[in-house]
């Protein structure tokens, strides 16, 4: 890629695709808005308690699509991102039942966690 190439990475990230790299652009931000808003609300301890106590009821407070709702309930990270979830927001959902961000990364790729750590991140295999 040469420096003289014009910079076109704008609100329509899809216009200049970089392989396997979804950009959080206008379309994604729009698609994921309610789901990300719900996730953002979990920065409040009271909201985390309400979520933990009754996830279904908590989700009723927001206008998630049925697909988004199912993805959140199933902690399907790949699907959440596909439906407009942005990692920085949806990560807050993971605080409720803690899991490492690398496991969310592995889910993005559809790999086993251990394989992801070794093959993508270059760590040593622990359970050979």
């Amino acid at each position: 890629m040469s420096a003289s190439k014009p910079d076109t990475l704008a609100s329509d990230g899809a216009k200049t695709p970089i392989p396997d790299t979804p950009l959080f652009d206008r379309a994604g931000s729009h698609r994921g808005y309610e789901m990300n808003k719900m996730a953002m609300s979990l920065v409040s301890a009271a909201n985390r308690e309400a979520f933990a106590a009754d996830e279904e009821a908590y989700l009723d407070r927001y206008k998630l699509s049925p697909e988004q709702r199912a993805a959140v309930l199933a902690r399907d990270w790949q699907e959440m991102v596909r439906l407009g979830g942005n990692i920085f927001y949806i990560l807050k959902i993971s605080a409720l039942d803690p899991m490492p961000v690398t496991a969310i990364g592995a889910a993005q790729v559809g790999m086993e966690h251990e394989d992801f750590l070794v093959e993508r991140l270059g760590k040593e295999r622990k359970n050979g």
């Binding site: 890629m1 420096a3 190439k5 014009p6 910079d7 076109t8 990475l9 704008a10 609100s11 990230g13 200049t16 970089i18 392989p19 396997d20 790299t21 979804p22 950009l23 959080f24 652009d25 206008r26 931000s29 808005y33 990300n36 808003k37 953002m40 979990l42 920065v43 409040s44 301890a45 985390r48 991102v81 942005n86 990692i87 920085f88 927001y89 990560l91 807050k92 605080a95 490492p100 961000v101 690398t102 969310i104 990364g105 592995a106 993005q108 790729v109 559809g110 992801f116 993508r120 991140l121 270059g122 760590k123």
Partner: protein, 287 residues
């Protein structure tokens, strides 16, 4: 006149903060990473800056998608630690260098920047972690801060060239400041990481090392890159590295790379730092 004592680039990965919270510094996964920062801590302890200007991005904590500032500037007297979803971390709040911040607000607006000017705002790991890496865990932070927030979450994100201009303006603002403070500038974020999509876990150790080696002597190369090049080379979240360009442009053309450190992966991220001093300053001190 205030003195610009140096520029630091550093990762701000949240897992670093978590490792500190859990006392994992000496575990095999983390020891090599934290050990690399020991000289940086020594350097800054000797330099005794009064003000740290920190360029970073909020990660969906202080700002939601309803209103995304391309550039924001803190002008508060004090900044609280924000709850990112895991509870508020037990580290001290930050004192703001409010006088300098307002001076910078004036310089930015007069110099054709359009910041969101923030009098009340809480700060996330993007600034917490760099402070912890350089200053440890004191009872109170030994510097006052000037936080500069850059949007790197929702596209369009600013261009590398705009970041460079901001650094140049920052330098002018430091030079026109009547105070006597010793000032250090931090560019934060990166290095390689991608948290989303089928390329998640992308690592580019070669590019990370080249960045650390070249950001001092050859920054024009990166200043002239497109945003695409940053995303492609460093991953979608690694494009945060554009924020180091603000720090670099605030320094002289000729700088000395006092130290650098690289470790990967920290969690899912290439991690490290660089400390730069203006050559003129180094020469002066040697004389």
């Amino acid at each position: 006149m205030a003195e610009l004592i140096g520029g630091c680039g550093t990762s701000h990965v949240p897992s670093i903060g978590i490792a500190l919270d859990r006392g994992l510094q000496d575990t095999p996964d983390w020891k090599p990473f934290f050990d690399g920062y020991i000289p940086a801590k020594q350097w800054i302890a000797e330099q005794k800056p009064d003000i740290a200007i920190v360029i970073f991005n909020d990660h969906g904590n202080a700002f939601f998608l309803d209103r995304v500032p391309t550039l924001a500037l803190g002008v508060a007297e004090e900044y609280q630690i924000i709850d990112e979803g895991w509870g508020k971390r037990d580290i001290p709040s930050f004192k703001g260098a409010a006088d300098f911040s307002w001076h910078l607000a004036d310089a930015m607006v007069e110099g054709h920047f359009d910041p969101l000017i923030c009098r009340e705002i809480e700060l996330d790991h993007g600034i917490q972690v760099p402070m912890e890496l350089f200053f440890g865990r004191p009872e109170e932070w030994p510097v006052k801060i000037v936080p500069i927030f850059v949007n790197t979450v929702q596209y369009p994100i600013p261009t590398p060239q705009r970041m460079w201009e901001l650094g140049q303006l920052l330098r002018k603002a430091i030079e026109s400041w009547a105070g006597e403070e010793r000032i250090v500038v931090f560019g934060t974020g990166g290095l390689t990481h991608q948290l989303q999509g089928a390329r998640a876990g992308f690592m580019n150790r070669e590019a990370d090392k080249a960045w650390l080696a070249e950001i001092g002597p050859n920054p024009e190369k990166y200043r002239d890159w497109t945003r695409e090049q940053f995303v492609e080379t460093f991953g979608s979240e690694g494009a945060e590295l554009i924020m180091w360009l603000v720090m670099r442009a605030a320094m002289d053309a000729d700088v000395r790379t006092v130290m650098s450190h690289y470790y990967a992966p920290a969690s899912m991220t290439g991690a490290g730092m660089v400390v730069l001093e203006n050559e003129a300053l180094a020469t002066e001190e040697a004389a």
